[in-house]
């Protein structure tokens, strides 16, 4: 996918995207395939890729410990600065988890914009295709995911039961043009693994993307913009309030995929109860191991809703069942407890 993006960037200097990359991934890339870092850096330097800000460990720390959340965001920014020599201007939280207080935090932190799900229940009759202002904020802009057009690619592209299958470039472009009647900014947010993992290569996803970029750029006045450019496109048309946390997951669009059952709650409570002890040791290895455990995938694989049906929860779990996932996580915590007891001797 990176190769395809880079190719399109050479073909069309106006083609732009934004990446949200965790520190954990960057560490792994540095270790196993540094050419990936170099490739992203080339695209950043061409001005065609903007890097967003997020937590270093893809965590839900915001909902447990604000200090830790700040520390992970700063750690991420430092890593981006070090590798790519840029400072992220727009923030997106793990799993697009968002609420009013997070927006206020982001404004205080000096971000130009923040990303969230364009969920109908919040928007009502309003369109996600505009720039909004989070309630009680004065400067920061809010960009909302156009989940229908995003999910047409991310979830439905290869689904043969979908009445629109197969999705052609022409059809998709017509939908976008239709949707532009309610605002000209179409926010397509999706996982990187949409291309090649959720939608395998044999579904034609790469060809679709390749042709779509070409076809879109051909039409007069069409553009691709990065997240911070999108924030500059217009003044906020309205205020948006999301007092409850909204994410981009499942039909509930809440945190229930990560934090609804007692195993998930107990795992994360235990994890955060170790925090002070871990940090007191000043042992960098121990601290980084503890932080790796804050990654949201751990509680995600303990989710018991839907998993019987073999859906995405089961598909993206490394474990045979949510119960095994919990078992291994708790074993790791016990090991951490043991290491703590040894290091305090």
């Amino acid at each position: 996918m990176l190769d395809l993006l880079e190719k399109k960037m050479h073909e069309f200097p106006e083609f732009k995207v934004s990446f949200s990359i965790t520190g954990t991934w960057l560490e792994q890339a540095e270790k196993w395939d540094p050419s990936l870092i170099a490739q992203i850096k080339r695209m950043v330097e061409r001005g065609q890729v903007e890097l967003l800000s997020e937590t270093y460990y893809h965590s839900l720390a915001y909902f447990f410990d604000l200090d830790e959340f700040n520390a992970q965001v700063d750690q991420h920014s430092a890593k981006i600065k070090k590798l790519f020599n840029v400072k992220p201007k727009v923030f997106r939280n793990t799993e697009l988890a968002y609420n009013n207080s997070l927006a206020k935090w982001a404004e205080k932190k000096g971000y130009q914009g923040i990303l969230a799900e364009g969920w109908d229940k919040i928007l009502g009759w309003r369109s996600p295709n505009h720039v909004y202002r989070p309630v009680d904020c004065s400067k920061i802009k809010l960009l909302l995911k156009n989940y229908r057009l995003s999910d047409d690619i991310a979830f439905r592209f290869s689904n043969r039961d979908w009445k629109e299958h197969p999705l052609t470039v022409k059809k998709y472009q017509r939908w976008i043009n239709d949707d532009c009647l309610r605002g000209n900014l179409i926010n397509l947010f999706m996982d990187f693994e949409t291309f090649g993992e959720h939608q395998w290569a044999d579904t034609g996803i790469f060809k679709f993307f390749d042709q779509f970029v070409t076809s879109w750029m051909k039409e007069y006045d069409n553009k691709f913009v990065t997240a911070s450019e999108a924030c500059q496109l217009e003044s906020p048309v309205d205020e948006i309030s999301m007092p409850n946390t909204i994410t981009w997951a499942d039909t509930e669009r809440d945190l229930s995929a990560w934090l609804s059952n007692s195993m998930q709650n107990s795992a994360l409570e235990t994890l955060f109860s170790f925090k002070d002890l871990v940090f007191k040791t000043k042992d960098q290895k121990l601290i980084s191991d503890w932080r790796l455990l804050t990654t949201s995938d751990h509680p995600y694989s303990m989710c018991t809703k839907y998993w019987r049906d073999g859906d995405v929860h089961a598909y993206f779990s490394a474990y045979a069942s949510p119960y095994e996932s919990f078992m291994y996580f708790m074993n790791i915590l016990r090991d951490l407890e043991y290491r703590l007891s040894v290091s305090s001797l």
């Binding site: 059952n261 007692s262 195993m263 019987r308 069942s321 119960y323 919990f326 078992m327 708790m330």
Partner: protein, 403 residues
């Protein structure tokens, strides 16, 4: 629809799951409007059964249905399905012949639409009726000789009868995917002829009034209040049940958490070996052997336990796991058990994987959250499988057998 059902036992004279399954299935079928003649190899009263007609093929006492003297020295109720020695089999053969003759006479007077035969003991009668009267045969497989012999060769005569019955049957009902594949692989029966119909919990479990009796199992209860986790396993102590692997896993788990109490409920040829093994491993303090128990005492064990383990090397279904889940136990099941196909809220392991089993025991005993979640979810899950649904699946298979 009129069905002739051929079985070998019914409650209250049952020795295990076969009778319970036949009883519940027949009752659910009668609710669907099916008329049933049920043939038994012995003569006994069944005061609770008014939904079908029961016919006694012989005048034998229920105790002698597996052959004369088979149970003089051993515990009668201890044998789900006989694993007969050659001289006992001779007399089982005599009973089977009589059973066969009786059934043929019955059919001559009262012709059924389909014959539904349960396990090898009745297959010959089913085949005879099919040959003589052309009545379609449905063979129900609760266990094969391969399961009963625990991986060894098994009895060649039983294999021959089993094979002949399965070959002649118009449709075969297997109690799990696992059994379906054994039938396919070992007997070469095409998969298209075999349908899987799972079992459910004995309806009487839900209907009977049951309360945990306080005066029993005081020792185990005192351990429980002292913070011990109670882990039980129930069944015949035969090689098929994989209990030595469980014992080795228990040793590993107890080494890390001494507050574990294992209850081995049941009896069988492996008992002495297991008692010896627990002593050799130095864990006899943590292991209790109850001897054979049934009814309320068995339900007390389920109630008392936190965790139930099914350690079988080969288990066509495994009704005890559902019984345990009904009484609120968390389940650990081998992947070689049929019941593991329908319960996803359970820990699963391969029967030989002692390390995995011990880590699962430790995880459950050290995390009340995990224990409660598994207990709650397993119960919710199996409540969804009903005898009504099973009866409907059987009816569909009868129609297919009729062609």
């Amino acid at each position: 629809m009129k069905i002739l059902m051929l079985g070998w036992e019914l409650p209250p004279h049952n020795s295990g799951g076969l009778g319970v399954a036949c009883y519940n299935m027949a009752r659910a079928l009668s609710k669907e409007g099916v008329k049933i003649n049920f043939v038994l190899p012995y003569n006994a009263k069944h005061p609770k059964i008014d939904f079908m007609k029961i016919h006694a093929a012989t005048n034998l006492d229920p105790l002698f249905r597996f052959g004369g003297g088979a149970y003089v020295s051993s515990n009668v109720t201890d044998h789900l399905i006989p694993n007969p020695s050659s001289e006992q089999l001779t007399s089982i053969r005599e009973i089977q012949n009589e059973y066969c003759e009786f059934t043929k006479n019955l059919v001559a007077k009262d012709m059924p639409d389909v014959v539904h035969a349960h396990d090898w003991l009745t297959y010959e009668a089913g085949v005879a009726i099919k040959e003589k009267y052309g009545v379609p045969l449905v063979a129900h497989v609760h266990a094969t000789e391969f399961d009963r012999s625990g991986g060894s060769a098994g009895n060649p005569l039983i294999h021959a009868i089993e094979y002949e019955g399965l070959r002649a049957a118009d449709k075969i009902i297997a109690v799990s995917e696992l059994t379906k594949h054994i039938i396919h692989e070992k007997y070469g029966i095409p998969l298209s002829k075999i349908d899987v119909v799972y079992n459910s919990l004995d309806e009487d479990y839900r209907n009977d009034e049951y309360a945990f009796e306080e005066e029993y199992y005081q020792y185990a209860k005192s351990k429980k209040s002292a913070g011990y986790t109670i882990i039980s396993t129930v069944g015949r102590f035969t090689i098929q049940k994989g209990l030595s692997f469980l014992m080795f896993a228990a040793k590993k788990a107890i080494a890390k958490n001494p507050k574990l109490l294992f209850i081995f409920a049941g009896d069988g040829e492996e008992r002495d070996k297991l008692i010896n093994l627990s002593a050799e491993l130095g864990i006899s303090e943590n292991v209790i052997f109850t001897g054979f128990i049934r009814g309320t005492r068995l339900r007390d064990i389920y109630t008392l336990s936190d965790i139930f383990i099914m350690s079988s090397i080969s288990e066509p279904f495994g009704l005890t796991a559902l019984e345990a889940a009904y009484h609120g136990d968390a389940l650990i099941l081998t992947k070689e058990s049929g019941v593991s196909e329908i319960i996803s809220s359970a820990f699963k392991y391969h029967f030989w994987d002692e390390n995995k089993l011990s880590s699962q025991i430790l995880a459950l005993s050290s995390s009340p959250t995990l224990l409660k979640t598994l207990q709650k979810n397993a119960k919710q899950e199996f409540e969804q499988i009903s005898w009504e649904q099973i009866a409907k699946e059987c009816l569909e298979i009868y129609h297919l057998a009729k062609g």
